[in-house]
């Protein structure tokens, strides 16, 4: 007997965001159905990947990451080229050196690092401050100016510093990462405040503040799912693509770095799976951009996404 497939009918879709310039662009979002439900609506773009580059590495850096980027850790430009060789869709420069409790590097140094990466690779860039709101507001305008015309994704804009960060993005033609503390209501409110400044809604990516596998990933799942349901039901202020910093979360936890726990299995494989699985889970919740630290975790993720992007196989 023929089985009739029950389909949900949606009136909205996730906004499609274009990053990068010239011949090197990446499109994300645009989904007209819940993740990978190809039979219900068009999913025009697969989740995009980025690999992190740090402007400076001091002190502790996990040996596995050091091995993957051997010889380039001191040079952001070379590091970025290595990311592209590994197959990343985008390069995510993290301005670690600007953290006030670390090197406390200034705006000009940060802009110089950004310029170095921009000259090394042609593809789309994500640029991330240190996450301290005041410092990001002080540093990001110079960085945005240095990358003028490259159509980057710049973060982090929060409810405290969004005016400065968004103004810089508007002035230099970038998109912005809107960061909220795992709260759907604050995420929506921040999008409204940002669009009130006349940044088009399709130039915002939402960072809901995820947790890694075992560390509150279910909360992140619920928030992302609610965002996607909002987009599909036509809520324009929840229709922006979601960005997930899976590398940052995964490499913080002991399950990734501890090498002395026999019953957890071999550390290397465990670490890669931890980062990859965090990303795969959140892709199925509805994430659109995934920022990794380890290239093999990213490649593992891509193999899973290859399978999930096959149409109507069930």
């Amino acid at each position: 007997m023929a089985v009739e497939i029950v389909k949900e009918r949606w009136k909205g879709r996730v906004l499609e965001m274009v990053l990068g310039s010239g011949t090197h662009t990446v499109k994300v979002g645009g989904d007209a159905a819940l993740p990978f439900l190809h039979f219900e609506g068009q999913i025009p773009n697969r989740p995009a990947t980025a690999l992190e580059v740090w402007d400076r590495v001091d002190g502790e850096f996990p040996p596995m990451l050091t091995a993957a980027f051997e010889g380039v850790l001191g040079s952001p430009g070379d590091w970025a080229r290595r990311c592209v060789e590994y197959g990343a869709d985008m390069v995510a420069l993290r301005l670690v050196s600007t953290h006030p409790e670390g090197q406390d590097a200034g705006a000009e140094e940060a802009a110089a690092a950004a310029r170095m990466v921009a000259e090394a690779v042609e593809g789309p860039l994500i640029v991330l401050g240190c996450g301290v709101e005041e410092k990001d507001a002080a540093v990001l305008p110079a960085v945005a100016a240095a990358l003028d015309g490259r159509n980057c994704l710049v973060g982090f804009a929060t409810s405290e510093n969004y005016k400065t960060v968004v103004a810089a993005c508007i002035a230099h033609g970038h998109s912005v990462i809107a960061t909220s503390p795992l709260d759907i209501n604050l995420a929506k409110q921040l999008n409204i405040l940002i669009t009130d400044m006349n940044l088009p809604p399709e130039r915002i990516a939402m960072d809901p503040s995820i947790g890694s596998l075992g560390y509150g990933i279910e909360y992140a799942w619920s928030i992302i799912e609610r965002m996607r349901l909002g987009a599909l039901s036509g809520d324009r202020m929840l229709s922006q693509p979601v960005i997930c910093f899976v590398g940052d979360e995964a490499w913080k936890v002991k399950e990734t770095t501890a090498d002395d726990v026999a019953e957890w299995g071999e550390q290397g494989r465990r670490a890669l799976l931890w980062e990859a699985m965090t990303a795969v889970v959140l892709a199925q919740a509805g994430g659109s951009i995934f920022v990794f630290r380890h290239p093999e975790a990213m490649q593992h993720f891509n193999r899973q996404i290859d399978a999930l992007m096959r149409q109507d196989v069930y």
Partner: protein, 267 residues
């Protein structure tokens, strides 16, 4: 919810005069105001002074003026089938036909018209015997509408059941029956037909019209109402609807929820 602006109706003095003189300015002005106030559809009614012979031409003219001004789809409102057809013929996008009753002759004429033009249609829970007294009789007529719509190949989401609310100052007992009807209509089919009410009728002839309208709208939304023909220019009414949508968990809360609602975003 779906807001259908009630104001382009020959019953109102400015629109009646505009129709008589074929002056597009007042019609365009009302279209603009209602679009800015958050209407999703504009109800278009030629009013009681336009006779059946003249109605098709007037309806086509009103639809064209309204759509050229704001581009919103229309809820084409007339007792005359030929006026409905004339309005549909010039309409761009998906219209709503307002309305058929559960009288067989009307249904046989109007459901095919909706299918022909790919329009949605409002079905009134009444027949030649008039408006039923209670919810169960309203539901029986709603079921007639559902069965006939289905027989004509109309998608259930394109059928809006109107349980018919009457003025509270003369027919107080109907208000709760209409709420009960709204609750139960969704069980008549799967997917369910949608529900609509002509809200302003509840306060007809009473003082405190705005208060009565917005109180009843919130009650009806809590019962599951999908759409209403109403005065979108009543800010307190629209704010109550926005708040109800949030409290019913249909919209995601944010501190600016009223502002988002008041400033319709162009999709």
């Amino acid at each position: 919810m779906i807001f259908i602006g009630e104001r382009i109706n020959g019953m109102f003095r400015d629109i009646r005069a505009a129709i008589q003189e074929r002056d597009p300015v007042p019609v365009a002005e009302r279209a603009r105001i209602q679009a800015a106030a958050g209407a999703h559809y504009l109800d278009i009614n030629t009013g009681p002074d336009v006779d059946a012979a003249e109605a098709p031409e007037v309806m086509a003219w009103l639809v064209k003026v309204a759509q050229e001004t704001c581009g919103l789809p229309c809820c084409i409102d007339s007792p005359h089938v030929e006026a409905l057809r004339a309005g549909l013929a010039v309409h761009r996008g998906k219209a709503i036909i307002n309305s058929t009753s559960a009288e067989q002759e009307r249904m046989d004429a109007l459901f095919p018209l909706a299918v022909e033009f790919g329009a949605a249609i409002i079905g009134l829970a009444m027949n030649e015997k008039g408006v039923p007294k209670d919810a169960s009789d309203r539901l029986a007529l709603a079921m007639e509408l559902v069965a006939n719509a289905d027989a004509h190949g109309l998608a259930m989401e394109d059928l809006f059941i109107d349980p018919l609310i009457l003025p509270v100052n003369v027919a107080q007992e109907h208000a709760v029956e209409v709420l009960e009807t709204i609750r139960q209509v969704r069980m008549l089919a799967s997917p369910a037909p949608r529900t609509v009410i002509g809200l302003s009728n509840v306060s007809q002839g009473a003082p405190e019209r705005s208060l009565i309208n917005r109180t009843y709208l919130v009650m009806a939304l809590a019962a599951g109402l999908d759409a209403a023909i109403l005065n979108v220019e009543d800010k307190a009414l629209m704010d109550s609807a926005a708040t109800a949508e949030v409290l019913l968990n249909k919209e995601v809360y944010c501190d600016a929820f009223l502002r988002v609602f008041r400033k319709p975003l162009v999709v």
